[in-house]
């Protein structure tokens, strides 16, 4: 039975952590391998690559969300000086299709426009200016059709359908226990409807890719992306090529967060078609405005709740109904919904659960993958409801959670899965509360009046690591390890670095397993011709899956390395140990030979010094109809507590501090891990309070960093981190992913802190000043003034009505 003895906690705020130790680099703070080149400006992103004769691509896109395309006038575009190609759907050599899961999305519009940003034509020209000028001159002949912009309305009878078969894409469910009986038992019931806005990734590097054709036979794509294997498939499909003829190399990627999961396949397919048509290299870099308009977003959702608890605060039942706005194409929306559905209840024990998650087509922005993948929205709702229940029960929100979280004895989740390993929910709650000074704060915050109020709130998440059962066929990964004659090591993995630290993690794991210094290990960005399809770099699976594949490769390499070392050492192969850059004899640490010498000996004897590695997750049982079973292989828990100050007159929120307790299994690279948590918190905070996607008939009305405001250095809260390490997770050396658990609870914690400060409930995200002021209603310090203005407006409207 896992117990507290087997867990240990490291408080990072006070603990500088080892830079590296006698036990190897694992958990240390050695330099990230990519940092020096990046800081010197010598890392080449796609926009920094150019080839002789290279053309620049541009896209002609729809300004309207719904229309029939009757034709395209291209003469003016073709006449622009420097233009070499203007292509339409008819020019696509293979299939005109880029849907990643379901074939509902053409690369270029044939007859029907379904969203602003749908592509009509592709342009290639000798300068970017000429290309975009020509794209602007492409004239579509459009007959506008009615559109639908509200996902709930889209599901009503009579709503204009986007595709054949209506607007309901799919419904996912979890059905467990007897809700009717449990409802009768509940002493308090909370009902709520949460309106939760989407989010733009705002990676600093816009979408970018470069295609290099070789006759019409094969092609290389260099692209800023998370999933080179997705891009490979998409390009092969539009060009009608076998997969082996499409080589996709991941360029250094300037941020992804999910925004470079599926979407990069679209620009890559565009440049591929242009490169084949012109026979020249073609590069595309999306202007920020178009990038923000057309690329995928975190889904806007509506979540309805009815949750009940007994007098003692034990949850009795939870009913959740969620409607997700997919936009005009499915993309990854069903996959996101699958995770949202399974994550709806959180780390709580609830005897009866009924969850329904609907995915709807609309003519809005394109919903897709974004850090947390549907879990942040449902977690926000669940944590808001927990606080409402606490207020109704007059119970400390921390205490209410303590009474309901899963633990080592009661470890069955809402989907009926028994959690493997130690269940650290209470541990995370308590550690975050201690870091934040929860009890002290509550003791002194009784007299919270005056214009600036302080509050504290909790967010707690149970995160299913790796891919959902539904995506299991993709859940495998590949690695290649080459020991060079000088003892340095090449590592290739199929998962990508996008800033999160996958190179550092892969380097650390390989160095640890080979007993060498991380500095001698070079991890190169993936390329589809050097490693096997490893699925997408998502779901916080990068370090986990590539790490296990690397360990497998090193295990195989050692079947050839150890005998050579044994000969040099005069021992048996099974006595060889690798550590501190030395091979040594177990039990006789004074008998050593440098690993580098073993490597040169292997080279001299022409022994194969390359090994491949593979990892796949174990099959699990899951029933998609009822949502019961094991959707995920294992889970991570995180608790964050936010302390905020709210100006109740202006509705302005300042997040002062976030205290984060994370169950990470084992730390691989301490700086990368902390960086993920700090970055996730700030991105989650932005979503919570300032990042609002303003829509005007499906068009993004604020497609710029001035109008869509992401946090700056001046907005960043103080972040305190404590990690709970434990034995038993299945990742490399027991590590669990941290990239998404870092963001998921933040917005919930901020919301609960703001509501704590103001004594009101806010059921809408983001908590922008107008939302906060509106929620205050009569409690706003100037409510009398606002109500007078409302009366005025009524009278004015009445006048208008009368005057006609």
């Amino acid at each position: 039975m896992p117990s507290r003895e087997r867990t240990r906690a490291a408080g990072i705020a006070s603990d500088p952590g080892p830079r590296s130790t006698d036990h190897g680099p694992l958990g240390g703070r050695h330099e990230r391998p990519d940092a020096r080149a990046k800081v010197a400006g010598s890392t080449r992103f796609v926009a920094d690559l150019a080839l002789p004769g290279m053309l620049h691509a541009a896209l002609a896109v729809s300004p309207v969300p719904s229309a029939r395309l009757a034709g395209l006038e291209l003469a003016a575009a073709r006449a622009v000086d420097g233009v070499e190609a203007v292509l339409t759907a008819a020019d696509i050599p293979g299939k005109n299709q880029v849907g990643v899961v379901f074939p509902d999305q053409p690369l270029l519009v044939e007859d029907r426009v379904r969203m602003v940003g749908d592509r009509f034509a592709l342009v290639a020209a000798r300068t970017p200016e000429a290309a975009w000028e020509a794209a602007r001159l492409v004239r579509p002949l459009l007959e506008e059709l009615s559109a639908v912009h509200d996902p709930v309305a889209a599901l009503r009878p009579g709503a204009p359908p986007l595709h054949e078969g209506g607007n309901l894409i799919r419904t996912f469910k979890v059905v467990r226990g007897d809700v009717t009986r449990e409802r009768a038992r509940a002493d308090v019931v909370v009902e709520a409807e949460y309106q939760i806005g989407g989010q733009e990734h705002a990676y600093l590097e816009p979408q970018a890719c470069l295609a290099i054709p070789e006759a019409r036979e094969r092609i290389t794509i260099i692209t800023s992306c998370q999933c080179p294997f997705y891009v490979q498939k998409a390009v092969a499909r539009v060009l009608g090529l076998p997969l082996a003829a499409v080589r996709v190399e991941q360029a250094p990627t300037g941020g992804g967060f999910g925004g470079k999961e599926d979407y990069p396949s679209e620009p890559a397919a565009c440049v591929a078609v242009l490169a084949f048509a012109t026979g020249k290299p073609v590069r595309l870099v999306l202007p920020r405005e178009l990038d923000m308009q057309a690329s995928t977003k975190r889904h806007t959702v509506v979540v309805r709740h009815r949750w009940g608890a007994d007098r003692d605060g034990q949850l009795c039942f939870a009913e959740v109904e969620t409607v997700m706005d997919a936009g005009a194409y499915i993309g990854l929306s069903t996959v996101v919904a699958e995770r949202a559905n399974a994550s709806s209840i959180g780390p709580y024990r609830v005897p009866a659960v009924r969850v329904a998650t609907h995915v709807a087509y609309t003519n809005n922005l394109f919903g897709g993958a974004f850090r947390g993948f549907g879990a942040p929205q449902v977690t926000w709702a669940a944590e808001a409801t927990m606080d409402k229940l606490a207020r109704r029960l007059r119970m400390d929100p921390l205490e209410l959670r303590r009474r309901n979280v899963l633990d080592d004895r009661r470890r069955t989740t809402s989907t009926g899965q028994r959690l493997p390993g130690p269940v650290l929910a209470s541990e995370c709650l308590d550690r975050a509360a201690a870091l934040a000074g929860w009890d002290e704060f509550r003791a002194r915050s009784q007299a919270n009046s005056g214009p600036v109020r302080e509050g504290m709130g909790i967010g707690l998440v149970l995160y299913g690591c790796n891919l959902h059962h539904g995506g299991q066929r993709l859940d495998r990964s590949s690695a290649v390890v080459i020991l060079q004659p000088d003892g340095s090591v090449v590592v290739r993995v199929g998962l990508t670095e996008m800033g999160q630290g996958n190179l550092a993690a892969a380097q650390t794991i390989a160095a640890q397993a080979l007993g060498v210094d991380p500095a001698v290990v070079q991890v190169w960005q993936p390329d589809t011709t050097t490693v096997g399809d490893s699925g997408p770099t998502v779901a916080s699976r990068g370090a986990h899956m590539s790490g296990l594949a690397i360990l497998d490769a090193i295990r195989r390499l050692r079947t050839r390395l150890d005998p050579v070392a044994a000969e040099l050492l005069g021992c048996r192969a099974d006595e060889v140990e690798l550590a501190g850059s030395l091979a040594s004899v177990r039990g006789s640490p004074e008998r050593t030979v440098p690993v580098a010498q073993v490597a040169s000996e292997m080279a001299a004897r022409r022994i194969e010094a390359i090994a491949t590695g593979w990892h796949r997750t174990r099959p699990r049982r899951f029933d998609p109809e009822t949502g019961i079973g094991a959707p995920y292989e294992f889970y991570a828990i995180a608790c964050q507590i936010a302390r905020v100050k709210v100006d109740s007159e202006l509705g302005l929120i300042r997040v002062e501090e976030v205290s984060a307790a994370h169950d990470v299994g084992r730390v691989i690279h301490r700086d990368a891990m902390e960086g993920q948590i700090q970055g996730g918190i700030v991105q989650g905070m932005g979503w919570a309070i300032s990042e609002e996607l303003k829509l005007d008939h499906g068009r993004l009305a604020n497609p710029s960093f001035t109008d869509y405001t992401i946090p700056t250095a001046a907005d960043a809260p103080k972040v305190r981190i404590t990690v709970v390490e434990s034995e038993g997770a299945s990742g490399p050396f027991g590590a669990k992913g941290v990239g998404e658990p870092s963001l998921i609870p933040t917005a919930a914690a901020v919301r609960n802190a703001v509501c704590d400060a103001l004594g009101v409930e806010i059921d809408r995200l983001p908590l922008t000043p107008p939302t906060v002021v509106a929620a205050l209603g009569d409690r706003h310090p100037f409510a009398w003034l606002l109500s007078e203005r409302r009366v005025d407006e009524h009278e004015r409207l009445a006048t208008v009505d009368r005057d006609g």
Binding site: R29, E31, R32, D34, A35, R36, A37, K38, V39, A40, G41, S42, T43, R44, F45, A47, D48, H201, A202, Y203, L204, E205, P206, P252, T253, G254, G255, G256, F257, V285, P287, R288, M498, G499, Q500, G501, D671, A672, E674, G675, Q678, G679, G680, I681, V682, Q683, S704, F705, T706, I710, P711, T712, A713, A714, D715, A716, V719
Partner: protein
């Protein structure tokens, strides 16, 4: 032949002359004409700071500066922060303190940070305010500010 203007500037300590169209942005002169691709374009609208360079020692977003207006002035890019191939103290602290993730914002942050150090600003919240024109979506800024503090403590402001 389209109209051209002559721009002569001191670029990373070297006097250089370029013939460019009158509307050319300083960012394009740097990246396309001078081949210095360290300065990045994240927005092209003066909002993200990825293109930050020093113009006569002051950080500016080079996507909003006309190349012609740099004529006769001194420009330092991220490449120019290095001295004899060695990283600037702040760049070094960014590396050792984990202040670099995807790296796209990093050149601009390095340049602005170098200016903050040169100005001798030691207060972390003032440093954060001065950095607020440089967006970073990855780090959450904590380690960037820690790196500034670190290079300050090591006397980086005196050396720069």
């Amino acid at each position: 032949m389209a109209e051209r203007v002559t721009v002569t500037l001191t670029l990373n300590g070297e006097r250089r002359t370029f013939e460019v169209p009158p509307g050319r942005r300083l960012l394009d002169l740097l990246r396309d004409d001078a081949g210095l691709t360290g300065s990045k374009e994240g927005c092209g609208a003066g909002e993200c700071g990825a293109c930050t360079v020093l113009l006569d020692g002051v950080p500016v977003t080079s996507c909003l500066v006309l190349a012609a207006s740099a004529d006769g002035h001194e420009v330092v890019t991220v490449e120019g922060l290095l001295q004899a191939g060695r990283l600037h103290p702040f760049q070094d602290s960014l590396v050792t303190r984990g202040g670099v993730q995807c790296g796209f914002c990093t050149p601009g942050i390095a340049v602005t940070g170098a200016a903050i150090l040169a100005r001798g600003e030691a207060d972390p919240s003032e440093q954060a305010r001065l950095l607020s024109g440089n967006l970073c979506r990855c780090t959450g800024y904590t380690k960037v500010i820690e790196a500034l503090q670190d290079s300050f403590a090591k006397g980086g402001h005196a050396k720069s």
